[in-house]
């Protein structure tokens, strides 16, 4: 039985390398916001498998899943990003993110697309002030560049204005080891 999963590097990355200050981000939606993680840290995108809850784990830990025999921790991004819980749908996906010492699953509402952002399309997190969450790396404004021709009408509908905003996340800070019983 083959797993319903997509190799991120194959289908999403137009070019595997960063060049000339252009970085690739995978955009996805959690609740009403669009977030993005560096494409280089995404290992896989998969449908939601059977989840085993782990008693006494932190609230944001949904449980564990089996990814080809590897026990993998699944994090609920809604909890982690402190947005209200919501229902899962047929478009809910798990992002397998390499955080350095561990590959973890992140549950998001839907995967959008890959953005290639140049330096001038990225604002540093400092614009948000000192109390911005540590895992916010910056703000991406792909609107500053040319809009991707292939984005669908539906995707465009997610954004109220021409100025699309991506909240760029730092995978290390986002997934840094949490203390149990937190």
């Amino acid at each position: 039985m083959s797993q319903p999963q997509v190799k991120a590097t194959k289908n999403y990355a137009p070019e595997p390398t960063e060049e000339g200050g252009v970085r690739e981000f995978l955009a996805f939606v959690v609740a009403s916001e669009t977030y993005a993680l560096p494409l280089s840290c995404i290992r896989e995108i998969m449908r939601v498998p059977s989840v085993t809850p782990v008693p006494r784990a932190q609230r944001e830990v949904l449980g564990i899943i089996s990814v080809r025999g590897q026990v993998t921790t699944l994090i609920d991004l809604r909890q982690r990003l402190r947005v209200p819980a919501g229902p899962t749908s047929s478009r809910t996906r798990v992002l397998l993110v390499d955080q350095g010492d561990e590959i973890m699953g992140l549950l998001c509402d839907r995967v959008q697309q890959v953005h290639r952002l140049s330096e001038k399309e990225v604002e540093l997190a400092s614009v948000l002030g000192a109390d911005a969450a540590s895992y916010v790396m910056g703000i991406g404004r792909p609107g500053q560049g040319e809009r991707k021709a292939e984005s669908t009408a539906e995707e465009r509908a997610d954004h109220d204005s021409e100025d699309e905003i991506l909240i760029l996340l730092d995978p290390i800070a986002l997934l840094k080891r949490q203390v149990n019983h937190g």
Binding site: P49, S50, T52, P53, V54, P55, R56, A57, V61, I64, I65, S66, G69, Q70, V71, T72, T73, D101, E102, I103, M104, L175, R177, Q178, N180
Partner: protein, 712 residues
């Protein structure tokens, strides 16, 4: 890319080999240590060490481990000095050698450890030792050895000759004629015969007696045996054997420097004439030094060749992978079994019986594969105990205490992973036993104990577990002192402390709040960090217990599962969720005798065959749903770890199965009560419970909990 990968693999190979060499070195040093204590010299061991370091040096150079290479060089020089007798083998020298091996170990470790090694300083110390070389009086001059003979000896041979004479062994001169065409085999068989009773210092062809197709060989042998015994062992009546006599007068000694250094074997030509060989009545030369048992001088080459026989070194991760695959195969087999069942129920009985037969065969072979893989992972505990011996020696020297280590059952096998994880806790316990347990020589004498303290390590297999007992004959622990200290520190309330039995009090040592308290450490005679020992052992699915008597020593007992990889587990349900628990800790499962549940001191218990069994409602412990009641929890699973028992209340038993335990990711590692998860074959993970930590949590009062309990 490929070459990089190969390079990486070669480097891993190197690291594994270096590790092995270093372990060999540390074993060798321990042998030397034992030798010194028994007043014995072990030239073979020194040679082995020299070869080991030399190999390590070569390998380090080849793989670009520059610091390791320099370190090897320094040690090699030192061992060379030892080998040649330029430096006397003393405990101080041995200390430096041990330090060197420790440095090797650290140079293979993580960067921080590597940085902690100062090769230059170490090198300076070694040279300091070398400069304090012993001035030897030249014993060779006291014997009837002619300069031309001495002149052809290599420095090492000369050193061996000197040492043997100093140790009071008799040196014999053997001359024998061998046929040229079979010289190799004849010489080998001669060496073989001599090997068991004498050390061959050197052998040279002596042209003088050689005629045509024969050649005369002259050998210098050192032995404790009498001439007659040596002669018999040779089995060659034609051989001329004579012992080298002490000179009648010590006058007119031929100075060694007079002998031509580094002359070829041909120079021996003239020697026989000058050689006084009184072949008649032989009197063994006795020198004052006590004779010591000596191992035969084995040829170095043989030894190193033999060690590579049929052993393959395998990265443990490859075995882990294999183990995973075998585990998956097990789940495939279960699926096949279900299919066979359906066939049988269906319309193809003939087909089904054949399928059944094939499935049986599959099952049998799979079980064999499983067993073999498990077996491959097993290593003898001696690997670990050797390291313990090094620590014992080191700590004993640091503390200037005399400690003897007695090991029983080193051949007991455990999973490689367990052996490795066990190293730190063992070291800790041993260090504590010597630091705080075993008294100084003076105190021991005053108390009428033997001056040398004894540390005993006993390992044996007990069912699916390995039990390791570490006991010392030191001062022991006074449980009353623990009680007072625990109360004073606020770890236990006065009431709670007085309720605890002696054994329970001793186990307070493993409580985090207690053992890190410095003040208590000094009083209780036990070191910091016993809680870490407990945590590590518990993580392996094991248990640790302590028993001690004031003045009578302390015994720490570690119980561990033999393997972590594939285990039989009992599956059960709580609130509709499936869990697994290793069958090894399950004593029995019984129906809940709901009317017999009593509450004692706020804890539910039942009486099981006359003894009290505390209960734990897993649904509550894990907060899985509303408060449990007897209507839903129909079964009690009785688990025991060490000597503690607990009844876990569950809803349903779902049979037993062999499972492969997989660790949780780092983000979840250490979740209390859970040791891992297993995939039952349907891509759904089932949590595996850690009985030891649950028992711990439920039965042993945690510091905070108790204190709060008293306050209210």
């Amino acid at each position: 890319m490929v070459s990089g990968k190969d390079g990486e693999r070669a480097k891993e190979e190197f690291l594994a080999e270096a590790q092995e060499l270093i372990e060999g070195l540390s074993r060798g040093l321990l042998e030397l240590d034992t030798g010194i204590k028994q007043g014995q010299r072990s030239p073979d061991t020194v040679n082995d060490l020299f070869r080991g370091v030399h190999t390590l040096k070569g390998l380090s150079g080849m793989f670009g481990f520059e610091r390791l290479g320099r370190m090897s060089h320094v040690l090699e020089d030192m061992l060379e000095d030892l080998r040649l007798g330029r430096v006397e083998l003393t405990q101080q020298v041995l200390d430096v050698l041990f330090e060197g091996v420790d440095n090797f170990q650290r140079l293979l470790g993580d960067p921080a450890e590597q940085a902690s090694v100062d090769v230059e300083t170490f090198s300076g110390r070694v040279h300091g030792l070398a400069r304090s070389k012993v001035k030897q009086h030249n014993i060779l001059e006291e014997f009837e050895l002619d300069a031309s003979m001495l002149g052809v000896l290599t420095e090492y041979e000369e050193h061996r000759l000197r040492t043997n004479l100093e140790q009071g062994l008799t040196v014999y001169r053997l001359r024998v004629r061998l046929a040229l065409d079979v010289i190799d085999t004849a010489l080998d068989s001669l060496k073989e015969r001599v090997k068991n009773l004498a050390e061959i210092i050197t052998y040279l062809p002596s042209m003088d007696g050689g005629g045509g197709d024969e050649i005369e060989i002259e050998m210098l042998l050192a032995s404790k045996k009498s001439e007659a015994e040596v002669r018999t062992a040779l089995g060659r009546p034609d051989a001329k054997l004579s012992s080298v006599e002490r000179r009648k007068t010590a006058a007119a000694p031929k100075p060694l420097t007079a002998a031509t250094p580094a002359v070829t074997a041909a120079a021996a030509k003239e020697s026989p004439a000058a050689a006084p060989a009184p072949a008649a009545a032989v009197v063994a030369v006795k020198v004052e030094a006590p004779s010591a048992p000596k191992k035969s001088a084995a040829e170095g080459g043989d030894v190193s060749l033999r060690s590579i026989t049929s052993v393959v070194r395998v990265d443990i991760r490859k075995l882990d992978h294999l183990m995973n695959v075998v585990g998956e195969l097990g789940t495939v087999r279960a699926a096949v079994a279900r299919l066979v069942e359906r066939l049988r129920a269906g319309a193809a009985p003939a087909l089904s019986s054949e399928a059944h037969r094939i499935h049986r065969a599959f099952q049998r072979h799979l079980a064999e594969v499983q067993e073999s893989v498990l077996d491959i992972r097993m290593v003898p505990l001696s690997q670990l105990f050797d390291k313990v011996a090094v620590v014992v020696r080191q700590v004993a020297r640091e503390q200037s205490k005399e400690v003897k280590l007695a090991v029983v059952g080193a051949e007991t096998e455990v999973d490689k992973l367990i052996a490795e994880e066990l190293a730190d806790p063992m070291m800790h316990i041993v260090r504590n036993a010597i630091d705080h347990g075993i008294e100084s020589t003076e105190v021991r004498t005053k108390n009428g104990k033997p001056t040398t303290g004894t540390l005993t390590v006993v390992a044996h297999q007990k069912g699916n577990h390995v039990v390791i007992e570490l006991s010392d004959d030191g001062r022991g622990i006074d449980s009353n002192v623990i009680r007072e200290a625990a109360v004073r520190k606020g770890v236990l309330s006065e009431q709670a402390a007085s309720d605890l039995t002696r054994e329970e009090l001793l186990n307070v040592i493993f409580m985090p709040g207690f053992s890190t308290a410095r003040e208590v450490t000094d009083i209780s005679g036990r070191g910091v960090g016993m809680d870490v020992v407990k945590t590590n052992i518990t993580r392996l699915g094991g248990a640790v217990d302590i028993d001690s008597e004031k003045g009578g020593g302390t015994k720490v007992t570690i119980t561990l599962p033999i393997t972590l990889a594939i285990i039989s587990a009992l599956l059960f349900e709580v609130r509709g969720r499936l869990f697994a628990i290793p069958l090894a800790v399950v004593q029995e499962a019984l129906r809940m005798p709901s009317q017999a549940v009593r509450t004692v001191d706020g804890r539910e218990v039942i009486t099981l065959r006359g003894t009290t069994l505390p209960l734990c409602r897993l649904a509550e412990l894990f907060a899985l749903g509303p408060i449990a009641d007897d209507a839903t929890e129909h079964y009690v699973i009785v688990v025991s770890v060490g000597n503690k028992r607990l009844g876990m209340c569950v809803e349903r038993l779902s049979g037993q199965q062999d499972i492969v335990i997989k660790g949780l990711g780092r983000s979840l590692a250490g979740t209390p009560g859970i040791s891992g998860a297993t995939d039952l074959g349907d891509q759904h993970l089932v949590l595996v419970l850690d009985a030891a930590s649950i028992i711990e949590e439920v039965l042993l009062p945690r510091a905070g909990v108790l204190a709060v309990g008293v306050a209210t």
